[in-house]
């Protein structure tokens, strides 16, 4: 099979990360976390490379990746949206907030918008229950996110983008 440029790049990048780890099975999860942290998700080539490095069956790497909620198999969007569905957030309407995000972005949880601007997912409690319902936008927890605040957040991204567009012109 001929490797595309993208695939070759992923392999290179993964190799570089692997250099920092010992070949112990116990390092599997930390390796996956590091690779996802740098590439944004876990492409097939990265998993193949890791399996070879740790001398374990590819299917076992895949098994671990799909077991844990943290790992993703498709590329993320530019901005990440994580709606908290912990107990406090759920009871204060987190599910309504999630619906609002879905409606506005036109995607379901676990998906990335076609323009790759946003990816949407849920998380079970980020530990700021007192601010429920919480949505974590680009790693920053935002409190009391009702459907109208969803529109507000999206608007601020849009304005930001327009401003950047103007500046670069």
């Amino acid at each position: 099979m001929v490797m595309t440029e993208e695939q070759a790049r992923v392999r290179q990048q993964t190799k570089r990360i692997l250099n920092r780890f010992g070949r112990r099975r116990g390092n599997l999860v930390p390796i996956l976390q590091k690779v996802q942290g740098e590439i944004g998700y876990l492409p097939r080539e990265a998993m193949l490379e890791i399996a070879e490095f740790l001398d374990m069956p590819e299917i076992d790497v895949y098994g671990v990746v799909t077991f844990y909620n943290q790992f993703r198999l498709n590329p993320p969007g530019k901005h990440s949206v994580r709606v908290c569905l912990g107990t406090a957030c759920h009871m204060k309407g987190g599910y309504i907030t999630l619906d609002a995000w879905k409606r506005r972005l036109g995607i379901d949880r676990g998906q990335t918008s076609p323009d790759r601007e946003f990816d949407l997912d849920t998380v079970a409690c980020v530990g700021c229950c007192v601010m429920a319902p919480v949505t974590v936008v680009d790693d920053k927890p935002q409190g009391k996110v009702a459907p109208t605040k969803v529109d507000g957040i999206l608007l601020s991204f849009k304005l930001e983008k327009e401003r950047q567009g103007e500046e670069s012109r």
């Binding site: 999860v29 671990v64 406090a88 009871m91 309407g93």
Partner: protein, 637 residues
């Protein structure tokens, strides 16, 4: 330990301690006002970093030079962002609900001027004649801060602050004791594991010490999987060294060589601070080879969990450390004898470990003087939901639920009626009003059908549907079940389907019996705690709130007006104000329009029941209502 080693421990620590103390003194008594900003995750979500920036900018603008310290969470999360100012001549004063504008005023009026801005005061940290202090609050009578004592009062990123406040003295003392003595002390303190099950900690340590096999491991369980709890996060973010100190003492007592702190990846700040604390401790030789010159060597690594609830279970946690999917193993053998890589492994919760230093330093008797007959010490709760004072609470074991919710938590928000309190997360249950006088301890809560759990406490009011919360937890455990046991994997799915139908008004009365049968089977047929306790939220709500289940089934009505399929939003024409358009503008799906008489009407087909219009309708009109069943909405003319 050899006597020669002992002699080196104290002097080695003396130097560290006196340096830390002089640094602390310089901060506290340096003659300058000290500004502390609560910047744990809860504070940051409320805007603490913006406040911090505003303070620094204003100080610069006013050419003032006073130390600004980032601290952890004081527990008053409801009032975040919180700023504490200690100005010479004044008691340390704590301000709540601070925003950048208030922050600037505090600088210009209090630091520069001499007006302590009483309108923003939450309370003073010490008794004084000027401002009411926290100890005058009614809640102070019920609270007892032991493991939360440092939280919010020291900079968690500076080990010197911890040491100056008595930190690592317990380790020094422990290193001069025999390991058996330490274990005896922990045993007689009566400390029971704070991770949920309440297993006697000293006994676990003893089993692990006596187990053969080397090296031995210590694991700190900071997975905190209960999706509504944040105690462990707060401690790791606000006082990480207290956890390390407990781990090192445990390591010495059981003869371990390595330790792991297992923190969930959803807590990036806790991960960062624990990592930093490890580096600092290592630098001071409080960790590493020959700790403080003794012959005890111990290293700790940090491991990030990857978001699986079941990984809080000890054998699953070990599997994930070994690079496997987090699937529990059968016990016995217990990890204390056969744990990580088959070696003896001690697993304790964050709070269990952070209690250790107090037991060693102040003695087992002191620790055991607080609490009940069979549950000693204090209990830490993350109080959330519909209670007024959400936040972190530490009370002696034996305090009643009513005291925690109504005296410490100041009751229910918005003057609503209390309905239930959910304790123990997905493994726990919902307790009604009649159970509020139960003393909080491991045994009484279990008897009532809930569970101590690790400390999540969610208060529910009249607007919360008991069927829905049961369904919510089942959805959670169903998704998080690792799939190993058939009853857990398929049984929870079955229960969830039944509950789904009930919340949609499609349930049958026989379903309730079916739920009870399934619950018994799942409990009997699962081998880890996840499956064994998964039915608890359903069983407890069915026994205390059966009438709500019946209303859903028999009348298609949700008494709490929460289940979306069973409610409708309606604008009462007589109350709707012709000149007001508030709801029309805010409706996120454009389902509201005005009719010929300028009265607003909701298009029930388009309505997604998000409730925005109800919030938007000005209180003087109060025209939007929820109706259940939806058939109550009058047909439009």
């Amino acid at each position: 330990m050899k006597i020669t080693d002992l002699q080196s421990v104290l002097p080695a620590f003396q130097g560290i301690k006196s340096r830390a103390e002089s640094q602390w003194r310089e901060l506290r008594d340096g003659g300058k006002p000290v500004i502390m900003v609560g910047a744990a995750t809860c504070g940051r979500a409320a805007g603490a970093l913006e406040v911090l920036r505003a303070i620094k900018d204003e100080l610069k603008k006013q050419r003032l030079d006073c130390p600004v310290v980032e601290v952890g969470c004081m527990g008053h999360c409801y009032a975040e962002p919180i700023v504490t100012i200690s100005k010479p001549g004044y008691p340390p004063i704590c301000y709540g609900y601070v925003n950048p504008v208030i922050a600037e005023r505090l600088i210009s009026e209090f630091i520069l001027g001499d007006d302590p801005c009483l309108e923003f005061v939450l309370g003073a940290l010490e008794e004084n004649d000027l401002v009411p202090s926290f100890s005058d609050f009614p809640r102070a009578k019920f609270e007892k801060k032991v493991i939360l004592k440092n939280c919010g009062h020291i900079d968690p990123e500076q080990v010197e602050h911890y040491i100056a406040n008595g930190g690592y003295a317990a380790l020094v003392k422990a290193l001069q004791m025999q390991p058996e003595e330490i274990i005896d002390e922990v045993k007689s303190s009566g400390l029971r594991g704070r991770g949920g099950a309440g297993f006697p900690t000293g006994q676990k340590w003893e089993i692990c010490r006596n187990a053969g096999g080397r090296p031995k491991y210590i694991i700190c369980n900071g997975d905190e999987g209960d999706p509504g709890a944040f105690m462990d996060r707060a401690i790791l973010e606000s006082d990480p060294h207290s956890v390390l100190e407990g781990m090192i003492i445990a390591g010495y007592a059981i003869g371990a060589r390595y330790g792991y702190i297992y923190v969930r990846a959803e807590y990036p700040l806790a991960v960062h601070r624990a990592r930093l604390a490890l580096r600092q401790a290592k630098k001071l030789n409080l960790l590493g080879k020959n700790i403080l010159g003794s012959d005890f060597s111990f290293d700790i690594k940090l491991f990030q969990g990857s978001g699986a609830f079941v990984c809080g279970e000890e054998t699953a946690l070990i599997a994930s450390l070994e690079g496997e999917p987090g699937i529990p193993h059968y016990r016995p053998p217990y990890p204390a004898t056969n744990g990580l890589y088959g070696k003896p492994t001690l697993i304790n919760n964050v709070k269990t470990l952070s209690s250790i230093r107090y037991i060693i330093q102040k003695g087992a008797e002191w620790f055991a003087s607080v609490g009940t007959e069979r549950s000693k010490g204090t209990a830490v709760f993350a109080l959330a939901g519909k209670v007024v004072n959400t936040g972190l609470v530490e009370v002696p074991m034996g305090t009643t639920l009513r005291q925690v919710i109504f005296d410490v938590g100041s009751g229910i928000q918005g003057g609503k009626r209390f309905k239930a309190v959910q304790i123990g997360g997905p493994s726990g249950g919902c307790l009604p009003e009649s159970a509020l006088d139960l003393p909080i301890d491991f045994d009484s809560l279990t008897d009532a059908g809930a569970m101590m759990g690790s400390g999540g406490m969610i208060v529910l009011d009249e607007d919360d549907c008991m069927v829905e919360i049961a369904r919510y937890f089942l959805e959670f455990t169903q998704r998080e079940s690792c799939g190993k046991c058939t009853f857990c994997r398929l049984g929870t799915k079955q229960m969830l389907e039944v509950l789904d139908e009930i919340t949609k008004g499609k349930g049958k009365i026989e379903d309730l019996d079916m739920l009870s049968w399934l619950a018994e089977d799942i409990k009997a047929g699962s081998f880890c705690g996840l499956g064994k306790t998964a039915p608890n939220p359903v069983l407890s709500t069915m026994s205390y709130f059966r009438d709500e289940y019946e209303a859903h089934i028999k009348e298609g009505r949700c008494p709490a007006l929460m289940c979306r399929e069973l409610i409708a939003y309606y604008i009462i024409p007589e109350k709707c104000e012709r000149s007001c358009d508030a709801c029309v503008g805010t409706c996120t799906v454009e389902a509201i329009s005005a009719n010929k008489k300028r009265i607003k009407v909701i298009d029930q087909e388009k309505c997604v029941k998000c409730g925005t219009c109800l919030d938007a309708c000005p209180p003087q009109y109060n025209a939007v209502v929820k109706l259940s069943p939806p058939s109550q909405v009058p047909a439009s003319k």
